[in-house]
């Protein structure tokens, strides 16, 4: 029986040190540490994210896929800027870089937009990696032109499928939609070519998630992701504060889920009521702590960053 941790003791110690540094970093900047429930009756409606259900007697609850909804309710209640270190759960995500249970650092900055938040992400990563790193920032569209020679603006789905099929060996692209083609190109072609820390920003509006649409260019959302050597570390937004728009996005998500034969998920009415009352303008970001540990310590798999993994295949 393999009972030993999958992470080395030095890694477990490094994690503890990073938690202390995170708390010192945010304490010095007057952010409040918060702790919100892992279980909720509503969940993320995103069609690409599987929520894990937990049964309380006969009542089905969901394990959070991120602490976003609860933290936004705190913001609407007047908490001011807040941060949280917590576990999040995403069903079916298992591999060398994925575990269904993982650790997120998520924080929200009142009155920031996504650009100001990228600056703060840089400061935090410099602090945690104990060095001054260089960071590149590149728009999603420009990155695809640069790395895949594909201009995603105005391209027809048929040409995008064809391009994707040429660039990704052994992929049947005939039944992929626009965003699925972009996701495949990002995972297999674009991200693997990135070196060092790179912020990718201004995502296509179809991938806005909970980000605000850019006021001057409505084809992009104020969303960014941070990669290190192609490994996705963080995802941030200028947050959408409009309750009506947010409800429509949830409903669109659920329509997309139904079209894919997936169950509709209950919409978080508490969040929508909070937005209706008014959430301050803010920017928020979630940073994967397990993957950040991989980067800082040069680990090859997420298993080496997590104390125990519980699945058939372990990645060493």
């Amino acid at each position: 029986m393999q009972w030993e941790p999958s992470a080395a003791l030095e890694t477990i110690q490094k994690r503890a040190q990073i938690y202390q540094q995170i708390r010192a970093f945010f304490s010095a900047r007057d952010l409040l540490e918060v702790d919100t429930p892992l279980l909720s009756q509503a969940t993320n409606t995103d069609a690409q994210i599987v929520s894990i259900e937990a049964l309380n007697q006969r009542q089905a609850l969901f394990l959070q896929t991120s602490p976003e909804f609860a933290m936004k309710r705190l913001l609407a209640a007047g908490s001011g800027s807040i941060y949280q270190i917590c576990h999040a759960f995403r069903g079916a995500e298992s591999g060398r870089l994925h575990n269904i249970e993982f650790t997120l650092l998520e924080w929200y900055r009142v009155a920031y937009d996504y650009r100001a938040l990228m600056d703060e992400v840089e400061s935090l990563i410099d602090t945690l990696s104990d060095r001054s790193n260089s960071y590149r920032r590149v728009r999603y569209r420009d990155l695809f032109i640069e790395q895949a020679n594909v201009d995603i603006t105005g391209i027809r789905l048929s040409s995008l499928r064809e391009k994707t099929g040429e660039l990704v060996p052994g992929a049947d692209t005939d039944d992929l939609d626009f965003d699925q083609c972009l996701d495949l190109l990002l995972s297999m072609v674009v991200a693997p070519r990135l070196k060092g820390y790179v912020f990718v920003y201004d995502y296509p509006v179809s991938q806005a998630a909970l980000a605000r649409v850019n006021a001057t260019n409505p084809s992009v959302a104020e969303r960014f992701e941070l990669f290190h050597d192609g490994l996705e570390l963080a995802n941030g937004f200028s947050e959408l504060t409009d309750a009506g728009l947010q409800r429509r996005r949830f409903e669109n998500d659920n329509d997309l889920r139904a079209a894919k034969g997936l169950p509709r998920y209950p919409i978080d009415e508490h969040l929508l009521a909070a937005l209706q009352t008014g959430m301050p303008d803010c920017a928020g970001v979630a940073l994967g702590i397990d993957r950040l540990l991989m980067v800082i310590l040069g680990l090859d798999s997420i298993d080496q960053a997590i104390s125990f993994v519980d699945r058939e295949t372990e990645y060493s």
């Binding site: 079916a92 965003d179 495949l184 297999m188 295949t313």
Partner: protein, 189 residues
């Protein structure tokens, strides 16, 4: 017929891809945090031996291939087919040239090897990793030349050509790694 979903893909799993039986070598899960998940899979086509990359949307499934590997004894070749027997039940199987591939170069009558059956028909033969075969032709040996490390071509009893040290003679037994076709050592008769 059973089928397997991408999350059940494991190394060694036998599935049907584009009509051919294949063995999964590697399965990698890739997914942007908020995007579509894919599985990038390395697959060996068991008929051609070729390795190919395939990309599936996570959750897609492939039909299971009825493939089994059975330990058999090599009996003889009639020029067109190579004949094998299962020692336990004396069942016999005939493999054609495409099934046997290069493996016939390492097969000596009565040696054991692994025969891969697809729907009951041989599609592949894997010889043991090491075999001992007799040299049937090579240039005369150079006496005393055991340290120089030079080599010369030699023909083995099965028809295989390999490189052997200069001191070896016709009629001697050599041990060969069948995966690389390389001479390992002299063997005792």
């Amino acid at each position: 017929m059973a089928s397997y979903s991408t999350n059940e893909f494991r190394s060694g799993l036998k599935v049907i891809v584009d009509g051919d039986p294949c063995s999964i070598i590697e399965n990698e899960f890739v997914k942007p945090g908020k995007g579509q998940a894919f599985n990038r899979v390395k697959i060996r086509n068991l008929k051609t031996g070729r390795v190919l990359d395939k990309t599936f949307k996570s959750g897609e499934s492939l039909e299971a291939a009825d493939v089994i590997d059975i330990e058999m004894q090599y009996l003889y070749s009639d020029g067109q087919f190579w004949h094998f027997m299962v020692p336990d039940n004396f069942e016999q199987y005939a493999a054609d040239a495409s099934a046997i591939g290069e493996s016939h170069l390492w097969l000596k009558a009565q040696d054991n090897c692994q025969v891969t059956l697809y729907n009951g028909e041989p599609i592949g033969v894997t010889p043991p990793n090491f075999v001992e075969l007799e040299i049937t032709d090579t240039d005369p040996g150079l006496k005393g030349d055991t340290a120089q490390g030079g080599t010369k071509p030699a023909t083995l009893e099965t028809g295989a050509f390999i490189k052997v040290p200069l001191f070896l003679e016709i009629g001697e037994l050599v041990r060969v790694d069948t995966r690389t076709g390389e001479y390992m050592s002299r063997a005792k008769k």
